[in-house]
Symmetry: D2
Subunit: 332 residues, 4 copies
Amino acid sequence: MIIELKSTVSANDCATFAEKHKAFHITYEGKNYLITGSGVKEIPTELETNTSEHWVFANDIQLASKRFRSEKREVKIGNVSIGGNTKNTILIGGPCSVESEEQIRSSAELLVGMGLSTLRGGCYKPRTSPYSFQGLGLEGLQLLAKMRTEYGLNVITEARDATHIDEIIEHTDIIQVGAKAMYDQGILRACAKIKKPVLIKRGFGTTLQEFVQAAEFVLAGGNENVILCERGIRTFETGTRFTLDLCGVAWLQEHTNLPIVLDPSHAMGYAYGVNPLARACVAMGIDGLLIEAHPNPKVAKSDASQQLNYEEFKQLQKDLQAVAASVGYKMI
Amino acid sequence: MIIELKSTVSANDCATFAEKHKAFHITYEGKNYLITGSGVKEIPTELETNTSEHWVFANDIQLASKRFRSEKREVKIGNVSIGGNTKNTILIGGPCSVESEEQIRSSAELLVGMGLSTLRGGCYKPRTSPYSFQGLGLEGLQLLAKMRTEYGLNVITEARDATHIDEIIEHTDIIQVGAKAMYDQGILRACAKIKKPVLIKRGFGTTLQEFVQAAEFVLAGGNENVILCERGIRTFETGTRFTLDLCGVAWLQEHTNLPIVLDPSHAMGYAYGVNPLARACVAMGIDGLLIEAHPNPKVAKSDASQQLNYEEFKQLQKDLQAVAASVGYKMI
Amino acid sequence: MIIELKSTVSANDCATFAEKHKAFHITYEGKNYLITGSGVKEIPTELETNTSEHWVFANDIQLASKRFRSEKREVKIGNVSIGGNTKNTILIGGPCSVESEEQIRSSAELLVGMGLSTLRGGCYKPRTSPYSFQGLGLEGLQLLAKMRTEYGLNVITEARDATHIDEIIEHTDIIQVGAKAMYDQGILRACAKIKKPVLIKRGFGTTLQEFVQAAEFVLAGGNENVILCERGIRTFETGTRFTLDLCGVAWLQEHTNLPIVLDPSHAMGYAYGVNPLARACVAMGIDGLLIEAHPNPKVAKSDASQQLNYEEFKQLQKDLQAVAASVGYKMI
Amino acid sequence: MIIELKSTVSANDCATFAEKHKAFHITYEGKNYLITGSGVKEIPTELETNTSEHWVFANDIQLASKRFRSEKREVKIGNVSIGGNTKNTILIGGPCSVESEEQIRSSAELLVGMGLSTLRGGCYKPRTSPYSFQGLGLEGLQLLAKMRTEYGLNVITEARDATHIDEIIEHTDIIQVGAKAMYDQGILRACAKIKKPVLIKRGFGTTLQEFVQAAEFVLAGGNENVILCERGIRTFETGTRFTLDLCGVAWLQEHTNLPIVLDPSHAMGYAYGVNPLARACVAMGIDGLLIEAHPNPKVAKSDASQQLNYEEFKQLQKDLQAVAASVGYKMI
């Protein structure tokens, strides 16, 4: 249950009530809210006279629910915005992994030349094998931060586990919680304490319900800048790497108030499918795309088969601009 | 292996070779072909001098393969065409089940008013429970055929099992092989002997490889008018009815030469998601859509939750026209 | 709803009531029952005075439900029985496909030597590719029937589609409805009209609910001799061919009154796993096993990797006898 | 590739080689090994004369592979052992969550009374909702440690994320890496530096290949005491909570040298299925079981439906002893 407390309730009393009723206490647009589990269906007696509004829920999707806030939340990423009434679809590009200064600089220049604002690149790679390339770690993060300074780009990179979440928070503009780290409460709780945008990827074995509940960890902790990212679920089909769940995207659009970014590159696993799938995503009226592009995909240290080369990436932008316009959106 | 025989080989010899080598024999655009299993990697000695061209395959997707015919096949449905170079996306509409003359006539008139050509409606419903509405059977088929005559529409309905396949073939313009009947060789072999278009739905537990192999049954039997229909696969996600596999569609576009029709209604299971998903499908450059629409979805005898009402269906057509144009296609 | 009619109701009236209320009418142990869809929650007024007992259900698992008949049904297969209070676990063996008289005779002799009663062998193979070995068809059926006569064995083979169901019914002792044919109402309705045992395999993409509903087609049609067979479902895991769903078996044991036979050979896909999996199955207290064994698995025309050789099959019997005894069952 | 260096190679040289060739360096039974990615197929020239034996692999399952060590590894848990030639199946019991001293003491006394050695209990619960009971955390750990001291029991609890892995390592005898934390390199790397047994649960969306690769992180880091735990994967079937993958267990037994513990409680999700499934597991000849038992399951703060009460747990032990004996194993 979400309880909106009257404006006459003091900050002190809010905190006292929260503790007593084992509720989260957040402030949002100047108002105070207590959030309990969805099992609570009636306002506790003591709070009755202090409540101005309340929402009862059938499950633990509460703050993210359209029933609480019917309009889509707007999230600022540096000097651009997505969600809200912006009708913007952000195209985020860059390599799977930061491999060298030369490589990431090449990506940064590509993006600037295309008028794009946000650079992606993995530093702590969540590889399933200890014998694969594990990413440049802090060195990679520093390279990303350098590009940010030199080119005025926003940067986004992925937290693999809680041991380096503080570094990620320090050096990036958007914190990406990876598909394999999505249940990691060490990461989620750290992200809840800041105000930077947090992009949470859906685990490939994760239900929509659990996915949005991960967002609730961040929202209930006080950070309202959460973006959901569908990147493919694991099914019996092995002709493609994963199965991009666009039925799930329709469900998220219907039930939640959070901006949605899609990652067709990881879902497909093959460059040939990225363009048609990205067009499909944009036609749904979504808020952004994460696309992997590499100066020379064949020699990439990770995910070689799915990264676009620069020509393909430029063509993609053009194709997506037409589709976005057909549904009243604008690629940024 | 596909072996194209020289034009000097007599029809008699073709048949003899086919029997001797346990191969299918088809003629396509005036040429004779023998098709063996993909395990055969070398031309049998005796055929060497009679072969003008041949194709070796890694798996049993042979006639449907882009490696055999790189251009997409064109399929005529009455007086319209899809596939080939047409850049047409056909919008097929109608109720889940034919319930009464009044209801199916209402659908027929809706389609005619919207300039559409093809009416769908189930007669033999493949219900999983014996206690659910099982369809009107032959009576439904005759109602469909009546609409065909009166309104000049093409009609499509589903074969549930082999016991009524002859009736279906007689009364419809496109034979639909349902998702649950997709492995039914009684149906597939009957469809192989005719020239009417056959739309094969992917089973919800069926791999892409198996799906296209079902098409091979029809193609190898001599009917080249096969359309593939993705309608959602079964995954762990239960927030939506099925999961529409658009990664799989990208795979089919890359690897096969068959037209592709999508069915977002069954995949989603909820009317609210049909419009955004249909837009996603069309943005991929596909050849058609199957959409369920009902004069009054709430009282429908099957699939009540996923059928659009007529206003929603008309809005859908408008929205899709814009998206289709953005990718160089035309809704018909 | 299941309605047990009073013994005073005439056969004529039973039929009239059934038609009027769109109900199935069956007799079971001398009593008359009407079965409607589970949506019916109250006895129709007119039947009230004619009803001696009734059962209301939340879903369409009715006749198969433990709530209707709490004891497990007993099914006779020739001169042996499973289910009921027999505590018998039947070991059914034989090759994947009947390939030749020599091969199937060898299997028959193996079984007789081991004291087993029931021989399996596929005649109409539901291959997903038209280019694979499709089985010997009627010729295979006749070979099986010959073994039945000569060796006094029960035989079981699979119906692939409705076109040959009459032949199968004529020549076998148990009709196997294959995993790919499980939704085939042409087959199910034919099986409902006879009294021979019907073994229904669960489709690899089929929920437990749908699986048992397929049994309801046969039960509601009047044949009470139905056996359920779990043979592996399709999941994201590809290290094994399918995933044997023993959680599902526990669910079936809890909720249904039907005997359960398991097929670990198809689930695993590799001979090395058949013995440990079969032990697991038997330890659950199940009613039978279908095991593929071949005189020379390496040259088998289908499923070569998963068939046991004869030594392995004999060892399996020994191992299973010990496990069965530990849970109070007996291998027959 | 695994390279066994000659005994004449100094410790210093081992380290130098490892760094130069980006290899892991471990010592095992007094011998030195370098482990590179499986992409390396030939011994680096410089190492040729220093190599006494080497193993080439097709994938990154190397140290865990039966091809490297064909015998099953033995792991000591306090004063008991599993794996190796012990033929022991350990029964680990206890509640889902540590809820109070009274509750966990009751569990400890139950175990001691039944002659069992190892107590489980969750302290940091990886709940998917922020609004659910999150476990007692450090307080729970201290309660477990108290039981260890007072009753001489081994204790096992789960690490949820890397922020508290040091506490877990300090207070428990077996470190459990939970299904949702299985990719967490912060946890895996910490576990690699110690010698305590590490039980890794398979993620519910994790392939067997990835699962064993998680073990490789620990093995390659120098801790050879790794236990694999299958606890159910997520499939389309929702009648049960998850699907216990016993085909996967057969695969692990065939391909890896690690002891295997199974968790039927989480897989099934319902107490009624735990006994038959546990019997199935034991019949496969496995090394242990994790079973949830609670003094009063109905009031449990987590997983209420799947926990056994004490009578059911005692009955389970008896039933399992018979099954274990039938396959030559002993319940401990």
